[in-house]
Symmetry: C2
Subunit: 139 residues, 2 copies
DNA sequence: TATTGACTTGAAGTGCACTTCATAGTTTAT
DNA sequence: ATAAACTATGAAGTGCACTTCAAGTCAATA
């Protein structure tokens, strides 16, 4: 059992975010002690980590909420959830492709800059010349 | 030379976003015709595509703005820009790792769901049982 | 006994990246 | 000549994901 502060420390989220997630029903209701303080279980912590993973995959709060709502309804929603997760997967793949493209361009830019930095004759190049060189040169 | 609408169509951004980017100085001032209408050149389009690429890598507007400001100042800012791009690269790599983790978990979830769907004895499983099975089972 | 500190709540506030709105000017088609 | 189609501007609005605030409860400590 973990206090709000401990759960926050373990997950790296703020206590406010944890409460927000609970209010938005991304988490099941968290157990309370006699003072009405939240007591996070290990399973809650695992659940939170799943939510975090979904968030780092940029799945919006409302989708996570929908998924969690189905999850809590148990086995009869398995098929619906399967389809949702398939869609999430498609989305993640798209993001990976986009990031890969950004990676490639950034790599290209880095080696371009290295080349220019190695040659002092470029140190006063105008941005328009540089831009042409970058776009039309065979880097 | 492309009109606002054409530039929007080519890039997939809205004309409003294009104006917003120009106002925020992510783009150099776009040339105008006699009617004060914007006339985007091929180089402008390329520039916009670079911005888009940075945005899909989740580089915030203010960082792009800073980078563009240095770019426009020409060759004397090469070193500063080199460092900026290196930092962007680090950030992109971090995002790729996170996405990869989300991908792996999603994959695991998909095969877990496939297994449950194939066995009708799971069709009334409670979410707590399912959750334990997912977290402790060797999938 | 009073204050400190961890927690509670609902409500309001924040920052980002656009998006929409209200108003107006210019050219082309009916 | 009037409407449709495109553009312009600044200002206000939107949606998302939190974050901060104000006010209060409770238990332990100085």
């Amino acid at each position: 059992m973990y206090s709000a502060k401990e759960a926050a420390k373990i997950t790296g989220l703020s206590t406010a975010t944890l409460r927000y997630y609970e209010k938005e029903k991304l988490l099941p209701p968290i157990a309370r002690n006699s003072q009405k303080y939240r007591q996070y279980t290990d399973e809650d912590i695992e659940w939170i980590k799943m939510i975090q993973c979904m968030r780092t995959a940029n799945i919006p709060i409302h989708s996570i909420k929908e998924y969690v709502s189905l999850l809590i309804q148990g086995g009869k929603t398995l098929e619906q959830r399967f389809i949702m997760v398939q869609n999430h997967m498609e989305d993640i793949k798209k993001q990976m492709t986009n990031l890969q493209n950004a990676f490639d361009l950034t790599q290209k830019k880095l080696s371009f800059y290295e080349k220019l930095l190695a040659d002092s004759s470029y140190k006063n190049i105008s941005y328009k010349e540089e831009w042409k060189l970058f776009n039309h040169g065979e880097n």
